[in-house]
């Protein structure tokens, strides 16, 4: 009992010193708790549906940031990973009768393979050329989908997949826990040594190579990791929607991911997640004004991109927090001195 008390006190001390001192971390804590506790307050199927899809797209948006934001490998065909994940999951479920807990990871592995297939020819390409090359891959796959309709279902896709789970609440918890877990993993990856190398590749690849680091291997790793997470979101989408069709590979899907990430703020992981949690429900909210729904949505995105070019979430974060010029630790904006080194904050 005493030991438990000791650990609880220690946990509270960590919380007090690391989480409760910064508004951004408090927001993340509230975000985690609200998502996990929401079904206690309401089990409205429509609301849960929106949040389930939001969770799925949040994983997808964060996976784009992991690749394009952190390594600078501008991927304009991210729908490829999503579509490969969705189609593989659907095929395994329909033909091999593998349930969702098996078909989704296998779909993600197929997306890893797709990551390798895209990554290898893209290694020597940069900027516009890379963006255009990656854009071509989902279009090529879409061509293959239409070429073998007996396997892929052609224009109407593969339908009749088994449900993700038996109830909407379980679907919600599966996607929420996966989203929170996978996005935390992605965030930890970017915070690790591997993440630092990803950063460095984006900033100056030649300098990284002269430092003796095999950038090819790291760039392929980024493609595979991004493909894995996007593949999981594709598999979740297929089982939740019970359909995997050409829409998962469309160019609009690839651009949507880029919009989410840029809107929320790239090179953050939390930015794209936050953006999806704002934009997907917002688009639904605008259904109250059906005639101008898409127009209003476009205006919101344009305004944010115009006035907050770094993205919405980094902009808000910079308003409520300051970085210490000496030790680089973040502090709440109301402080005059750094909470760690007591250096004056401007």
């Amino acid at each position: 009992m005493g030991l438990l008390g000791f650990y609880l006190r220690r946990l509270f001390t960590i919380f007090k010193g690391e989480v409760l001192v910064l508004p951004s971390r408090i927001v993340v804590l509230i975000f985690f708790l609200s998502l996990l506790l929401l079904p206690i307050v309401t089990q409205d199927p429509y609301l849960l549906r929106i949040l389930i899809l939001t969770n799925i797209f949040a994983i997808l948006a964060a996976s784009w940031d992991l690749l394009s934001g952190f390594t600078g490998q501008m991927n304009f065909g991210h729908a490829l990973f999503f579509g490969v994940g969705a189609y593989t999951t659907a095929l395994l479920n329909l033909h091999a009768h593998i349930p969702s807990w098996g078909s989704i990871p296998l779909g993600a592995l197929a997306a890893v393979l797709a990551g390798l297939i895209v990554g290898i020819p893209s290694l020597r390409l940069k900027h516009t050329y890379l963006a255009l090359t990656t854009l071509a891959f989902p279009i090529i796959l879409l061509g293959i989908v239409f070429a073998i309709p007996d396997v892929t279902g052609g224009e109407m896709g593969l339908s009749g997949l088994s449900r993700l789970s038996r109830s909407r609440v379980i679907d919600y918890y599966v996607t929420t826990i996966l989203m929170l877990g996978l996005c935390t993993i992605m965030w930890k990856i970017t915070d690790s040594n591997t993440g630092i190398i990803f950063h460095a590749i984006r900033e100056d690849e030649v300098a990284v190579r002269t430092g003796g680091i095999n950038t090819t291997r790291y760039k392929l790793l980024a493609f595979c990791l991004s493909g894995f997470f996007a593949g999981i979101s594709g598999g979740l989408y297929a089982h939740f929607m019970r359909i995997a069709g050409p829409s998962t590979l469309e160019v609009s899907m690839s651009f949507q991911v880029v919009i989410w990430a840029v809107f929320g703020g790239i090179v953050t992981i939390y930015g794209p997640v936050g953006a999806v949690f704002l934009l997907v429900p917002l688009l639904e909210f605008f259904r109250f004004w059906p005639e101008v729904r898409t127009l209003m949505f476009a205006v919101v995105i344009l305004l944010i991109l115009l006035y907050m070019p770094q993205g919405l979430l980094p902009w808000i974060r910079d308003k409520v927090e300051k970085e210490c010029p000496r030790c680089k630790i973040r502090n709440i904006a109301t402080r005059n001195t750094c909470r760690i080194c007591a250096a004056p904050l401007d």
């Binding site: 409205d44 199927p45 429509y46 549906r49 929106i50 899809l53 239409f146 309709p149 052609g154 224009e155 109407m156 896709g157 339908s159 009749g160 929607m241 019970r242 359909i243 069709g245 050409p246 829409s247 609009s252 688009l283 639904e284 909210f285 259904r287 109250f288 059906p290 729904r293 898409t294």
Partner: protein
Amino acid sequence: MKKTRILLSVVLAAFLVMTIGVPAYGAKTIKIGVIGPMNFMQGKGHWNGAVMAAEEINAQGGIQVGSKKMKIELIKADSNEFLSITDATNAMERAITYDKVDFLVGGFRTEAVLAMQDIAMDYKKIFIGCGAAHPTLCIRVARDYKRYKYFFRGTPFNSMFLVKTCFAHLGFVGKELKTQLNIPKLKVAIVGEKQVWVEPMIGVAKTTIPKLGMELVGVWRPSQTATDVTAELSAVQRSGAHIVFTIFSSSVGITFARQAGELKVPAVMVGINVEAQKDGFWKATQGMGNYAMTMNTYARGVEVNELTKPFIEKYIKLFGEVPTYTADTYSAIAITLKKAIEKAGTLDADKLIPVMETMEVMVPSGRVKYIKDAKGRKLHDLAWGPGYLTSLGVQWQDGELKAVWPNGWQGVTYKGVVPYKIAPWIVEKYKK
């Protein structure tokens, strides 16, 4: 300051109640969700047809449900399905759980309708599909009746019948050419846009055309958004084709018809050209689309039955254009659902289904009857052929879209159908 805060709180609370709170609709109406891509022509057709049906029913005091009359309340659900399947399914779930609709009509893109169908079935809501033609939607009913019995096809008849209709048109036009121009062996060129739905039609056409006693001289596949098809037209002309079997759903239908008219290509056009079904076709082709023929559901002046003309004229009066087939939400609501509800005396879906399955109703485009498959399983698919739905063949004749078929086909004769016209330059070239 305090007053401002109170005022702000009241405004915010009112806003929340208005937008997030319970829907402020009365419980004494029959709520019908109209789901479709509302920013596109197809969705506008869905909505216009439903509005016309609701106005008509409400003007009569509503639908008789048992001992009371209930008015219709329409709920517009923008599926945005051309751009996002996710959006379509969200719209469906919202209409059912938030707006609490009793019935649903609409849907267009097959991939989206399949996903939306599953949601409607989860909630056991009758969903009358008014747009997608794929047979799978109804095959699902036969395979898993218990789950999918709430789905019925409203319009169009399934794509297998669409193909049969096209070949009936081809046979009809071939006969006209033979009779009027005395051509012994007709040559046919297939021109289909580069889209996946065209593939099976070309496959069937390759085997069917020789069976009709005609010679296939080639297949051309321009892009669906091509702005210049002179190369294809020159090739068609060189092939000596008398008939061009068109399979177009996109803007290339305008380009092809316009340039064929400009070049006076000596071949008649028949088949599917969705652009030629619209009122704007004449202007878009600058009159060069004269004599183009396509399959269509409605044409001004033609009477498939006594309901057709009043429906078309009223629709034109209300919306300023000839109805497209998605406007058959009108028939789904004002005729099929109304009659079923009045007969069953209830809104209970499980009690309405047996009534809908067995009833035969006359609608402006023909007669609706739900058929069974070869194994005798209930399909909830539409009957096609003489006495039921046939659609029409329509031809542009000097600025007007006229019905030219199917008079005489398997004994079917419709009032208002005019003779088929062959372009003068074709008559000049072939008449001996």
